[in-house]
């Protein structure tokens, strides 16, 4: 099984920060996307029955926000191979409840991303393969 991680955020500094946190912990290849549309194009080309993708997804983004991205994932043939962790500045519980209603969402993290929070994700069986 091929695996990869992508980080999706509309802010370059956040991409840098998240990359700094994730790089030492992630066991697979990874990419960053400065927007959801480009990430979606990559996802459609990458994910299949032989490839799994872990996505660290921001919610509040222009053009296509995190919710719209999640709605697009619902139409994917390979939903079972897509795992999403929301990484957002939101501390609004309504956002976390709403996000966790999506079957592909396995975590909701309020920024700033921290190593200990990410390591807790490695305890989730479906996500453990993506971590060292």
């Amino acid at each position: 099984m091929n695996r990869s991680v992508i980080i999706v955020d509309d802010d370059n500094f956040t991409l840098y920060i998240n990359q700094e946190i994730l790089e030492p912990i992630i066991s697979t290849t990874w990419k960053t996307f400065l927007g959801a549309k480009a990430a979606l194009v990559f996802l459609e080309a990458y994910v299949n029955e032989e490839s799994q993708l872990l996505i660290f997804l921001d919610l509040n983004m222009p053009v296509m926000n995190g919710w719209q991205f999640l709605d697009e994932l619902k139409t994917s043939k390979f939903q079972a191979n897509i795992f999403v962790v929301i990484v957002t500045s939101s501390i609004d519980q309504r956002d976390s409840f709403r996000a966790l209603e999506y079957p592909c969402v396995h975590g909701f993290i309020s920024k700033p991303l921290e190593e200990k929070t990410v390591l807790a994700l490695a305890e989730i069986p479906q996500l453990s393969f993506f971590f060292k």
Binding site: D11, F13, T14, Y16, I17, E20, I21, L59, N60, T88, S89, S90, I91, D92, D95, S110, K111, P112, L113
Partner: protein, 207 residues
């Protein structure tokens, strides 16, 4: 006609309800004292005067339509809301129920009407609607503030926290520390702009 006589006797002295009847000639055939007093500024006695002299010209049509419905539906009460002169150049708002009067020979004899002043009710309803609209506007404003705090403000704020943590770990790398310091400065300026915009926008909305 017996029913009207009983109702008339019951509410003759009412200081709350207006009681009137209008004949088939379109003139008042009866008014109770409360109605008479209310429109005394037009005539000492309205009986024999055309029914429409007390009302807003635009509401005559409502009155005509309600009266026509009365005769199409004998025995039924037909509602009508009619504006009436207040004697000071303005109008009061009145709520009525009309019923056809039929004489002993089963012929239309006029329209019997019971009404009351709803001016305060209408004003309170309008005030209440205005308050509801204001509450809704404030609620929307609060929702926007929550969104701005949690997304717009926290986004650079959390970056400041994270960048500072990275800075604290990068003891030896002078170039990295310089880059991080610039990123922190840029992010702090962005946060300052965001807060200024929020204060400006909220001020405009609550003015």
């Amino acid at each position: 006609m017996q029913n009207f006589t009983q109702t008339r006797d019951l509410l003759e002295q009412s200081s709350y309800f207006y009681l009137i009847s209008v004949g088939m000639d379109g003139n008042y055939s009866y008014t109770n004292p409360n109605y008479k007093n209310q429109f005394q500024f037009l005539h000492d006695d309205l009986v024999g005067k055309p029914y429409h002299i007390t009302m807003h010209p635009d509401d005559c049509k409502i009155c005509e339509e309600a009266s026509a419905l009365c005769f199409q539906n004998p025995g039924k009460l037909i509602p009508a809301t009619i504006r009436k002169h207040d004697g000071q150049g303005g109008y009061i708002c009145t709520q009525w129920e009309f019923r056809a009067m039929i004489n002993n020979r089963s012929e239309p004899a006029g329209v019997f009407c019971i009404g009351y002043d709803i001016t305060e009710l209408v004003a309170e309803r309008a005030a209440s609607q205005k308050i509801n609209e204001e509450v809704l506007a404030h609620s929307t404003l609060l929702e926007n503030i929550v969104f701005q705090q949690t997304h717009t403000v926290r986004a650079p704020l959390t970056n400041l926290i994270a960048l500072t943590r990275i800075l604290n770990k990068s003891h030896d790398d002078v170039q990295l520390r310089s880059n991080l310091a610039n990123m922190i400065l840029e992010t702090a300026k962005k946060l300052d702009d965001i807060i200024s915009d929020i204060v400006k926008n909220v001020r405009e909305k609550i003015r």
